[in-house]
Assembly symmetry: C2
Homo-oligomer: 329 residues x 2
């Protein structure tokens, strides 16, 4: 069933049918006739043909690392909530955390004709910059700040600073376990926040108290074991909840009671951190909100209301739980 057949059935021209779906001059009689024909046949215009003519697909590409990460899933959830409402659909590209694949998929999605691209970024290589420059449709970058592009990101530095300060207020000098600084937000900014808090408290950051880890719980566990084998810090500030949870496990196994002998904090307020043996102090980052904001921003850009680029920085909320109760508890 195509527009020509439907038009014949309703006794009108193709043009009238097109106007029925897209608005335009159309008499009530024809409208009713088309309405009846559409209802009877269940006809719907071909998206392919429509897309060819209008150059719009009402699809938004989303490039992201692992869907099965809580934060990513929350962001995408937020995006889909807003966009589905406006009739847009999400075209997903799962990069499995491989930067080269990000570049590849950004390019592939661009060519596949999406109206816009939302990119959940972690690192920026020269290839990233090149492919982003070659994209001539609206782009919104989530979770990282990138000069000259529309971004929605979190105040990672502030969250890390406040959490570190909290540990210091509880009477300890925290060590640090974080991730690669290539990830400006989760790596560099959170580390910087840690350093700033130390300095503000008059403490000198020491390289031997700062550890680099992977993103997984197991990585946090390993690094914390290595750390505890060398020194006994009063607290550990971890760049992510997963690392923190691994670290708490290592502490427990070392005979330390988390929240009393050693204070631990993470970032992200993951569901896991709420149910651990000792609930984890963390910073709630508004992931779902950042997805929604990114989608709103995308809608604005699609409506060509994109006067200049915008950068939206979302706040955070420190959630104190038992893991930072304090030495006296």
């Amino acid at each position: 069933m195509n527009i020509t057949e439907l038009a014949a059935l309703a006794g009108v021209s193709k043009t009238a049918v097109s106007r029925y779906f897209n608005g335009g001059y159309l008499s009530p009689e024809k409208r009713a006739a088309i309405d009846a024909a559409v209802k009877a046949t269940g006809y719907a215009p071909s998206e392919a043909a429509r897309g060819l003519r209008t150059r719009r697909t009402r699809q938004i590409g989303v490039v992201m690392p692992r869907l099965s990460s809580e934060s990513t899933a929350r962001v995408v959830d937020g995006i889909s909530l807003v966009l589905a409402d406006k009739g847009y659909r999400l075209l997903l590209a799962n990069t499995a955390n491989i930067p080269a694949r990000e570049v590849e998929y950004l390019d592939a999605l661009r060519q596949s004709g999406v109206d816009g691209l939302i990119f959940l970024a972690s690192v920026f290589t020269p290839e990233h910059r090149a492919v982003l420059k070659s994209i001539h449709i609206p782009v919104v970058i989530v979770a990282q700040q990138y000069e000259g592009y529309n971004c929605v990101y979190h105040d990672d530095l502030g969250a890390a600073r406040d959490l570190t300060a909290l540990l210091i207020r509880r009477g300890v000098r925290p060590a640090y376990i974080g991730v690669t600084a290539q990830d400006r937000a989760a790596g560099w900014a959170r580390h910087e926040g840690y350093v700033q808090a130390l300095k503000q408290a008059g403490l000198a950051p020491r390289a031997e108290e700062m550890y680099l880890s992977g993103f997984r719980m197991e990585d946090g566990y390993d690094r914390a074991r290595a750390l505890l084998a060398q020194r006994r810090p009063g607290g550990i500030f971890c760049a992510t909840d997963a690392i923190a949870i691994g670290a708490m496990q290592a502490c427990r196994e070392a005979g330390l009671q988390v929240g009393r002998d050693v204070l631990v904090a993470g970032v992200g307020d993951s569901a896991m951190g709420r149910v651990t043996a000792v609930p984890l102090t963390s910073a709630h980052l508004h992931y779902k909100t950042s997805g929604q904001e990114a989608a709103q921003l995308m809608l604005k850009l699609l409506r060509r209301q994109g006067a200049g680029t915008r950068a939206v920085c979302l706040g955070y909320e420190i959630i104190e739980r038992a893991s930072t109760a304090g030495p006296g508890m």
Copy 2:
């Protein structure tokens, strides 16, 4: 840049360019000329035009409840892993757990021209049946068994039976907290497994020991509190990990030590259940695998190798942790 311009640039016909991208007779000289032109311009065929002509989009629709649920995310992760490899892209529809929206989105995706549909199902209303019947592209249903359709699902009944039997072996008569039987897999089948295990052990199931709950942790907490206010079961078998984690919390607050005073088990082997104060005994369901299987099945169907419908039932793995250590521990 379109095919006509590129053909002119390379000094060949449009047909030759098409054959360059799709295979067909083409002399090495023309191939080289087109290759050079493509490399120089970065030309890629318009997906819209191609889709119009071929009626294929290389897009697979995925309809699912909440992305921000661990099991869903794992399934979709598995799907995208397999399909991305074969050049297919995922068109996502997030139904926010609203059955009416599932029907709506199934219909919308069908009309948007996807080559196939993967449906992460929970309940089947008459409207679901109707819309599924109206779909004439390959469909794979995940997580539920549905007669006459290609399905990939888990042995929910077996997992529930084994876990309940485990609790009984540990010397307790477990109560049950589960979800609506409208969800055949997570609701009905897991309940049925519980009942079967009781009967096999010569115990009569009692209605007053079976509670109906929502899907969230808070729901499990509430139901467990209500349960504990009435009776003190030696164990609780919960239809999902989230419920079980809520229930463990309620037990702790009631002064009971989970794993000793009360044994608890869930289903799903969620990341949360591994880090709780008392780690949770659960059944690992191969969610990611089910996504991969569903994708493989879809690929077969797309290749028209769909001789009859197939139903793939995946096994499970009982993961014993401290929450079912036993009264003596």
